[in-house]
Subunit: 333 residues, 2 copies
Amino acid sequence: MERVAIIGLGLIGGSIGLAIKRANIEGVQVVGTARTRETLQKAKKLGAIDVDAPTPADAVRDARLVIIASPIMATQPIMQEIGPALLPGAVVTDVGSTKSNAARWAKDLLPESVSFVGGHPMAGKEQAGIAAADPDLFKGKAWVIAPSVSATEGAVNTVVGLAQLTGASPLFMDPDEHDSYVAAISHLPLLLSSALFSVAQGSAAWPELARLASSGFRDTTRLASGSPEMAHDIVLTNRDNVIHWLDRFIDELRRFRGIVAGGASEEVIEAFTKAQLERDNFLVNGPPQRDVGEPIPKISLGDMILGSAVSGYMKKQQEVLKAAEARAEGKRR
Amino acid sequence: MERVAIIGLGLIGGSIGLAIKRANIEGVQVVGTARTRETLQKAKKLGAIDVDAPTPADAVRDARLVIIASPIMATQPIMQEIGPALLPGAVVTDVGSTKSNAARWAKDLLPESVSFVGGHPMAGKEQAGIAAADPDLFKGKAWVIAPSVSATEGAVNTVVGLAQLTGASPLFMDPDEHDSYVAAISHLPLLLSSALFSVAQGSAAWPELARLASSGFRDTTRLASGSPEMAHDIVLTNRDNVIHWLDRFIDELRRFRGIVAGGASEEVIEAFTKAQLERDNFLVNGPPQRDVGEPIPKISLGDMILGSAVSGYMKKQQEVLKAAEARAEGKRR
């Protein structure tokens, strides 16, 4: 039996577990661990994992693929803990909403004998926890893959296979590039959502406002109901990008304010029409096409994991041996 | 046969027509008119109206209740047109997203022999037009009722009965009060939604951002896909309130920016936690309870319309006669 380990069994970790289990790959077992015994038992009962492990270090022992699905800030201590327990040639990935920090922590804390390939499935719900887990959560969504420089091709393909198995579309990105993009498309909306709810709820007229709130207010503030811990971790690990986009957004609001205050009919209608047409175009036609290179071929997670049990291990071991020899050679001189 | 007239058969007018027709009130007929023949035919085919009329003036002839469901800016010319054609004792209401202007136009343009009772059902979709009409659109939603000072009790009850017939909860408000509240809870979210979409789409990185956009971005920008004409009319008839709330929101964003830039963990988590808890509290427990006075009793629209055919007319006629006598008396002195 080859093992896939999931560390953290919340919405994302639990959904990944359900998706892998549903794929029913012969010879592959899912081992999971969570912060509380309660979550771990629930995950087993829901069929998100085959085997439960008491700690991250226990979970990763013998695992070919390790998925860290913890809050961002917990990723660092988890990497520290699992480092010595990892199999040589193991593939380590994560699912955090920011990628630069994860890449840095992996470089500092994981042994050279493993490959780190950062990941970020662009899916979520405002409900957190294993109870909200859903094997279809990632279907049709983007799954950013940000490999470390030293990751093997096999390791990258393993994470591509994982993303594809859940129905997501893998999308390669540099960690810094990723963080600047998500600040705009994901973290800014989160901040607006919370700020909008705060400003309405903080008003003396809130009892009246609340009675008038309809689906528009609800949808625009939906993200404010997400996990504050996640928001906290995002904001602190992506601070400069978040501030950059907040400033751009405040400028945009000032532009709208100017148009409203000016009261010129044509300008007002133009501002709203442009947003409407462009959004409808986006909904119908999807993202603008750019040269995105070769399409990513379909990769089987099962083949990767079962194959890597031999080839990946051998290859990585050879590299490690070669590097050790080179260092020894260097010292001798 | 007593008539209810609907002027404008878009999403709101069409949905009201469907709701009245579904109630199947004996002795009451729905007559409708629309800007295009195409809409009018579709409304008849969908069963939103019984009878089609070529113009607003034709539609209101013999109508006990007139519902203006046009874009806000069209309300003024419509009132001008229908004024001379209205039945003495008729009840006129509207459904516009701003209420002060409607009240002023009604005072200037409608004859003294009719009662104007402004209305605003707090429901909508980003799709416009009769094709999106739904008799359940208003179910469980608030329906603001802003009677003019001179409206009869019977007229107010007629509009209450209309709101209740659709499954909405009537909510009495002064027009100015209404406009200041909806600026916060409805117009501000609309502006944010459009500004957020604009700032992302206007960025050089839009092709990449668009590929990463997920349900959070979609929901937060949903309102940007609404009718630009509606947004235009709202912003221009509620300018001062909209600017007031835009300024408050920019201040709130600056507060969030300060917290993010400060980087103190506790402050960041506190800001997000407060918004999350308060929103969850709102979703579970509804608006904070305030002394809202007597509950509004259930009123039958059918009884009101059929009853008003006699009593409302008589009463209003007596008032008009009395006023005319008083004026004549004044002149004689």
